[in-house]
């Protein structure tokens, strides 16, 4: 059994009448990249702030790396880092000075800081900019310094709240690769929130979907996809030269095929893997030419929308 790095117990946060997080129970394992999904205002950021001890839960509690978030929040901040949404660095300090300040606040000695800071700048690709004032940096560069600041304490857990918000595609990819690398090399547990679903799909091993403060589901992405399709069935996308009348009816009567839908110029056939041969044969038998045939997995967006609607 893997160790739970994070375990929340009936974690609840209310702002006046608004319940931002409602009796949240979830666990995150060591070494996981956990994607935290939910529409705006679902309670993702509030949860992360509570887990870092920056916000006090109204009721319930949680353990992060074995420490209680209410009683021992300072201990948590020694082993966990946060990259808050819309966070930034001190513009009047250089990148190096920004990291130095964070290093001091983490009680790193002068020697440790001298060693760590250039290393961190290197990791985030900011070595050439160490002595430039942060106010001259682009959004992406600032974000990298913030990430470096989050890593300087060599955390066990990092909370990344929308880490790629406002970054260009290149920056987004670099940060994604950085997260994956740190996870692999240092066994860093990463809790990631993002609105960019393909990004979550590419990075995370497991996702938790939260809506209106309640946890709707936590599952691996494969299992979620499987649950959507039902058993071992899958969906195959076709593009045909034409859709002769009667084809859909004939396809539906094939054994193993569950349903056939037509959307725009595409035809989607839901069924077992074994039915592919019969399906292709039937189509060509009707005189249509197959221009494209590919299995189509559910995108996270579709999964996401389904759970949003349910929540």
């Amino acid at each position: 059994m893997t160790e739970h790095v994070i375990e929340t117990m009936m974690l609840t946060k209310k702002y006046g009448d608004l319940t931002a997080v409602d009796q949240l129970n979830m666990t995150i394992d060591e070494g996981e990249i956990f994607g935290f999904l939910g529409p705006n205002g679902a309670g993702k950021t509030t949860t992360i702030l509570m887990l870092m001890g920056l916000s006090v839960p109204t009721s319930g509690t949680a353990l992060v790396a074995g420490y209680d978030i209410v009683e021992q929040s300072r201990e948590i901040r020694k082993v966990a880092s946060i990259l808050p949404e819309y966070s930034s660095v001190y513009g009047d300090l250089t990148a190096y000075e920004n990291l130095d300040y964070v290093g001091r606040l983490n009680d790193l000695t002068k020697d440790e800081r001298k060693e760590m800071i250039p290393e961190m700048l290197e990791i985030v690709g900011m070595s050439d900019w160490g002595d430039s004032k942060a106010e001259s940096f682009s959004r992406g560069m600032k974000q990298r310094v913030v990430i470096a600041a989050a890593l300087i304490k060599e955390p066990k857990v990092v909370f990344l709240d929308e880490p790629t918000l406002g970054l260009d595609p290149v920056g987004t990819r670099e940060i994604r690769e950085l997260i994956l690398r740190l996870n692999k090399e240092q066994d860093l547990t990463v809790v990631l929130t993002s609105h960019i679903l393909p990004e979550i799909q590419m990075t995370c091993s497991r996702v938790g979907i939260i809506n209106k403060g309640r946890l709707v589901v936590t599952e691996t992405i494969e299992n979620l996809t499987r649950a959507m399709t039902g058993s071992e069935d899958r969906r195959v996308e076709f593009r045909l030269s034409e859709v002769p009348s009667g084809l859909i009816g004939d396809l539906e009567s094939i054994e193993g095929v569950k349903s056939v839908t037509e959307e725009n110029d595409r035809l989607y056939v839901y069924g077992s893997v074994d039915s592919d041969y019969e399906v292709s044969k039937t189509i060509t038998g009707h005189g249509a030419v197959i221009l494209l045939m590919r299995p189509r997995e559910y995108t996270l967006e579709e999964i996401f929308m389904k759970y949003y609607e349910e929540g």
Partner: protein, 324 residues
């Protein structure tokens, strides 16, 4: 205390490196140096005037105390008004608080740094003024005068720190620096200018002057050269009005400071100091001055403590909301 000194160190570096601080320090130094020159002039012309006139100034000149009365609020508020909300707005607060420090380290560190910056400013100004005056006069303060100057310096620091704490309170209460800067400017104008206008309007309203001619004719040979004299009734009303004005102005920390500071230097002028209508001048010893002004000094200290305690508690209880 974890992190307090780290925060204080960083904040102090920010303060000393900021143009804002340099401009204000420059302004205070300029005014104070001018006051020192005028003081030196006055001392040269008046044999019994002591060294402390450098700071108290003369009736017609601008003094160190007056500089602090008018610019003190601005100085203090300028160092405090964006302490917390700037970090909130810039998104650095959540990073700062994400470090293994206690939350009070942030506000304590900022307080210490601001207090240290103001101490430097006051001690530097007093030092430079003395440094200018001593060579020109050829003599320095006596021990008694030196102790008065030390006490004045301490009082000035406390007074400026009070304004800084009020600024910090604004920075905790408001989300945006543009709001807290407006609140600070409004406060400064209120206590530097508006309060005396207000005092004059209110006392004029509450103590109407007697009707009729304000002057009575004095017959020749009746104890005067004849001509006109202001009526006693009118004099009484004016004195009452003046006393009321003083009371209203006492509400202002600037006035509390002015009274206490003038008394400490022992150069007390009735008309300017605002005790009674007639002008008089007397010298108080330091003990007498402190005894007479303990309430003023206590009021400034209490104000400081209230402002700091208020900001401290509000900040500790404030939530870090998403997006800060």
């Amino acid at each position: 205390m974890a992190g307090t000194f780290t925060v204080a160190q960083k904040e102090l570096r920010d303060q000393f490196g900021s143009k804002r601080f340099m401009i204000l320090f420059g302004l205070v130094l300029l005014l104070s140096s001018l006051a020192a020159y005028q003081g030196v002039d006055f001392i040269r012309d008046n044999e019994n005037a002591g060294f402390v006139y450098i700071f108290s100034g003369t009736q017609m000149s601008f003094s160190f105390i007056q500089t602090m009365v008018y610019f003190g609020p601005l100085l203090g508020l300028a160092l405090g008004f964006d302490a917390i909300n700037k970090e909130r707005a810039n998104g650095t607060l959540s990073i700062l608080l994400g470090q293994p420090i206690f939350r009070d380290s942030v506000i304590n560190g900022k307080f210490l740094a601001g207090a240290a910056a103001l101490t430097t400013l006051v001690v530097g100004t007093v030092g430079i003024m003395s440094g200018l005056a001593i060579p020109m006069l050829g003599f320095g303060p006596t021990m008694t005068e030196a102790s008065k100057i030390v006490v004045l310096t301490l009082l000035t620091i406390v007074y400026l720190v009070f304004w800084m704490c009020l600024g910090i309170l604004y920075s905790v209460l408001t989300k945006r620096t543009s709001t807290s800067i407006m609140a600070s400017i409004a406060t400064w104008l209120t206590f530097a200018i508006v309060i005396s206008i207000l005092a004059s309007v209110v006392s004029g309203f509450l103590v109407p002057l007697p009707g009729g001619s304000i002057r009575i004719r004095v017959q020749e040979g009746q104890g005067g050269p004849g001509g006109f004299q202001i009526s006693e009734e009118y004099m009484a009303a004016m004195q009452k009005r003046s006393a009321l004005m003083t009371t209203i102005q006492k509400l202002s920390p600037t006035n509390l400071y002015q009274e206490a500071a003038s008394d400490i230097l022992g150069v007390f002028r009735g008309l300017m100091g605002g005790r009674g209508f007639q002008e008089f001048q007397r010298t108080l010893t330091l003990t007498e001055a402190l005894a007479a002004n303990w309430a003023n000094i206590a009021a400034i200290v209490v104000g400081l403590v209230i402002c700091f305690a208020g900001s401290y508690m509000m900040f500790l209880r404030s939530e870090i909301r998403p997006g800060e």
